[in-house]
């Protein structure tokens, strides 16, 4: 394939776990002059990570623009293809294209060094050096330091790159003293970790050596280097980083407190060398996948759980971009690790794929270029896999390193089956967490329920399930899960109190929730539990906005990077009609987490109230990109276009665009119970329309022709997956449930009406026939009548304001009196698809027993 005109070039540098909270003070002290130059000459920002913040998953998301449940890399290890053991996660687990595949296919010369995971090195339009290239152990040097040819593509270049590696045993005090000035005082036999330090340093030096060799000797349009050294230095030595904490021995602090600083300085020196290769056509992007807590948020102890060291990570990595067309000395907000690939594609003048989860970081460009996206890049050429297997030596070295870092449990070589089960369990768990992070909650629940069944004693699964159930409003199952967790007395009671408090909030019991959170406050660490945020939620629910804001300020002092704190503050200010303050806080929330549609909606809503209509439309458009079912945003957006911006065409275009996304039409019969909904279902059925029913509720004295119901309808607030099965069919849904219908279908609703007194009378008689007495039947239940009327009004309001709803109001007595006339009327509404003469035969006037007195 012919390459595009070659103007733009990109260098992508990945520094695992680099964090502005460490970098900024170092730059201020003049200890990172080269990064400072990059920062001042370009755009910088925080990069929101994904959950779980496990590096192989995230670096693959960065290289693909897709979440882990799409790209397939789900952890640190995987089961070997022939199931004879486990191995470190391989590049072959990635099932979608990386940026280097796409660019290579377009004729660009691309090189990738050390990306995690990338072994065996894959065939690309350039050189690929895998993440096993630099691995070493202390014993094998110099003669036995092997390297599989699979570490390098093209394979014939393996010998060349092999000699560029640096072994830890080549290093001496000249290399290590900058990290540990009092190196001589360390007693290696007593647990000093100097070998680990040398190994991490040598690995970085090896990859940097190969990378600079490529930049110096090869043609390149895109070159990427990934270094894990900062992450490894931080896991080993962050506990000694200033300020000194009381739980750390002073002697150890004195020895190792400079290691993390030294690591960053060394990276700055390597950056200096790479900048030698940057010309006026080159954009340099420096990124990290997550940060690393350097301050009071450093956990004092790590739980005994797989991959618990990841708890030391912070949720924000870094991004610094400099190059032609990139804004200078500019701050970037709302960036995510998912945005990297779409942005690089845009730099090269290529479209992003609609199946990518990230967005183009337009804010870094002086003049953003709008390139219409394509459906996907997956249908084009450029993805060539290799079937090579991993060498035992490299595999064992890598597994050992992951074990030493605490990311994986020790491999039980005597019991392979047990190890396989453990790995599969963790991969499934990570998949579920990734689904949760991508707000695919029902998919997450499915995976977690499977895990819970298999491993009933692993509290992590039950805990996550409880939070998922709560998120989908299945409070009954959430309660069951919380009770089961309580029964596991090993669980930290404070953490469980927080979970139960949250459940009580979901159950609309703010006072009980508050009591629960107050109890939890005594047992949890305020630095990690978000307890003040939880208490603020209680105050918010009972409209004590000042109290909520006070608590949120407190939480903000502890967790200045928590987006939900700013979102709730914005909601409080909205309620207080402080629209400017609300918009400001919503913006803060978006800057920290662009992917949350609620924050965008709160921003749009407040901008609307401030009369800043154009800006409001941008915010609301973002909501719909992130959550196409967010109908409140669609409604407000259409109102703004129609009424305030005089752009009726935009409103129409919005409606049309929405209709194109519609998955189908569902015919709904709705109304209050006993308003003739079963009769209407019968009419539609007779007229020739398929009905969605499980026939579980059989005909009885109250409904002699059947109820035409489906059990799944009751689960609508928490489960919408069944709606696809109801496409093009008639479904009976009571009025109260209508607002739970998602926006991805078009609904034609036949809304049955009957006077409230008749409804009440009919229900009373029905309950009597069922043997369930209802108290004083002679007294008219005013409050119940009022509640009925409110439900009807709410449903009508919802139908009126929803662009994907068409509805018709049908009076029950009219159908009884003139069935054929009403059948004609209904058939016309449905598009003349039924046989009205047959519909009319379903009406039995004898059943109209409770006429108004």
């Amino acid at each position: 394939m012919n390459p595009q005109p070659k103007k733009q070039k990109v260098i992508l540098l990945g520094w695992d776990a680099a964090d502005w909270k460490i970098i900024n003070p170092l730059m201020d002290q003049g200890l990172m002059p080269n990064l400072k130059k990059l920062v001042e000459g370009g755009s910088i920002g925080k990069l929101k990570t994904l959950d779980p913040a496990f590096s192989p998953m995230i670096w693959t998301s960065m290289a693909t623009g897709k979440r882990p449940y799409k790209h397939g890399v789900l952890g640190f290890q995987e089961v070997r293809p022939n199931r004879d053991g486990i191995q470190p996660i391989m590049g072959t687990s990635r099932k979608v294209k990386a940026i280097w595949n796409i660019l290579g296919d377009k004729g660009y010369k691309t090189h990738v060094v050390g990306w995690w995971p990338s072994h065996p090195a894959e065939p690309i339009n350039g050189i690929c050096i895998s993440d096993m290239y630099q691995k070493s152990n202390m014993e094998a040097f110099p003669k036995d330091w092997k390297m599989s040819d699979a570490c390098v593509y093209p394979r014939e270049m393996a010998a060349h790159f092999k000699q560029l590696r640096v072994h830890p045993r080549e290093l001496n005090e000249q290399h290590l003293l900058p990290f540990v000035p009092e190196l001589g005082k360390i007693n290696q036999k007593r647990g000093g970790n100097i070998y680990g330090l040398a190994q991490t340093l040598s690995h970085a030096a090896s990859l940097h050596s190969a990378f600079t060799n490529i930049l110096r000797t090869q043609e390149w349009d895109f070159a990427a280097l990934y270094l894990d050294a900062i992450d490894h230095f931080c896991h080993g030595f962050m506990k000694y980083h200033p300020p000194h904490r009381p739980n750390i021995s002073k002697a150890d602090y004195d020895l190792y407190h400079r290691v993390v600083t030294g690591a960053y300085q060394f990276h700055d020196m390597m950056l200096r060398r790479i900048m030698d290769f940057v010309d006026e056509h080159t954009t340099i992007l420096l990124v990290s996948d997550h940060g690393f807590q350097p301050d009071h948020l450093r956990p004092k102890i790590l739980p005994n759980e797989p991959a618990s060291p990841a708890l030391e990570h912070s949720p924000y990595g870094i991004i610094a971009a400099q190059g032609p067309g990139i804004k200078k000395d500019s701050l970037l907000y709302g960036a995510s690790v998912l945005d990297l690939t779409p942005t690089i594609l845009n730099i090269f003048g290529l479209p992003t794929g609609l199946d990518m989860d990230g967005k183009i970081l337009n804010n870094i460009f002086e003049k953003p270029v709008d390139i219409p996206p394509i459906e996907t890049w997956e249908n084009t050429e450029g993805f060539h896999r290799t079937d090579e297997q991993v060498g035992e030596d490299e595999m064992n070295i890598m597994l050992k390193q992951l074990e030493d870092l605490g990311y994986i449990e020790k491999t039980d070589s005597a019991n392979v089956e047990k190890s396989i089960r453990r790995v599969e369990r963790e991969l499934d768990y990570n998949l579920a967490c990734s689904y949760i992070d991508g707000r695919q909650l029902f998919e997450a629940i499915e995976v977690l329920e499977g895990l819970q069944e298999k491993y009933p004693n692993d509290r992590r699964f039950l805990y996550k399930l409880a939070t998922c159930y709560q998120s989908v409003n299945d409070l009954k199952k959430c309660r069951t899960s919380v009770d089961a967790l309580r029964a596991m007395d090993i669980y930290n009671s404070g953490t469980l109190d927080v979970l139960e408090g949250s459940l009580l909030l979901g159950e609309k019991k703010p006072n009980e929730a508050m009591a629960m959170f107050k109890r939890a406050e005594e047992n949890v660490d305020p630095n990690t539990s978000k307890i003040y945020f939880m208490l603020a939620r209680c105050h918010f629910m009972v409209s004590r906005f000042e109290n909520a804001l006070r608590l949120l300020e407190k939480e903000k002092q502890i967790n200045p990077d928590e987006p939900m704190v700013y979102q709730l503050m914005a909601k409080c200010y909205t309620k207080q009609q402080e629209y400017a303050q609300a918009a400001e806080h919503a913006l803060e929330a978006i800057a920290l987490d662009f992917q949350n549609p609620v924050s965008h909606f709160v921003l749009g809503f407040n901008l609307f109230h401030l009369g800043r209509y154009e800006e409001a439309t941008t915010a609301l458009e973002n909501v719909l990109k992130l959550a196409p079912d967010y109908n409140d945003a669609r409604k407000l957006l259409m109102t703004i276009y129609q009424t305030h911006l005089n752009k009726p065409d935009q409103a129409i275009a919005l409606r049309k665009a929405f209709e194109q996304k519609i998955e189908g039409t569902i015919y709904i019969v709705s109304g209050m119970p006993r308003s003739g909904t079963s009769m209407m279902m019968q009419m539609l059925h007779k007229g020739g329309l398929d009905v969605f029913t499980d026939r579980k509720r059989e005909a009885d004295e109250n409904n002699s022709k059947g109820y035409f119901e489906h059990e799944l309808v009751k689960s609508l607030p928490r489960n919408k997956s069944w709606l696809s099965d109801a496409n093009q069919k008639a479904v009976k849904i009571i009025a109260n449930l209508l607002p739970h219908l998602p926006g991805r279908f078009k609904y034609k609703i036949i809304f049955m009406e009957r006077s409230v007194p008749e409804l009440l009378q009919s229900q009373t008689r029905m309950l009597q026939r069922l043997g369930k007495r209802t108290g004083d039947e002679e007294t008219y239940p005013l409050s119940l009548a009022d509640s009925f009327q409110k439900s009807i009004d709410r449903a009508l309001q919802w139908m009126t304001h929803n662009p994907n709803v068409e509805y018709i109001r049908i009076n029950y007595p009219d159908v009884i009196e003139n069935p054929f006339e009403q059948a004609l009327h209904i058939n016309a509404f449905l598009g003349n698809i039924l046989k009205p003469e047959l519909m009319a035969t379903a009406v039995d006037g004898q059943l109209y027993r409770e006429k108004s007195r």
Partner: protein, 67 residues
């Protein structure tokens, strides 16, 4: 920007910012590692050069003693 150089690493001469040849420390340095491939190879060349010199010195000494 540094120009493409397809010459062999052993032919490279590292220079200080003022253009003087850089005297590579035998024990190496972080700075050499940060220079990437040229730093690593220059350091190894230096070690090799020193080894060669030592061997040569031994050979010369032996030669002189034979005379």
């Amino acid at each position: 920007m540094e120009e493409k150089k397809n010459i062999h690493i052993s032919e490279l001469v590292l220079r200080t910012p003022d253009g003087q040849p850089y005297d590579i420390p035998v024990r190496g340095s972080l700075g050499l590692l940060a220079l990437g491939d040229i730093g690593v190879m220059a350091w190894r060349n230096k070690i090799q050069q020193l080894k060669n010199e030592k061997i040569q010195a031994v050979l010369d000494k032996r030669k002189n003693s034979e005379k």
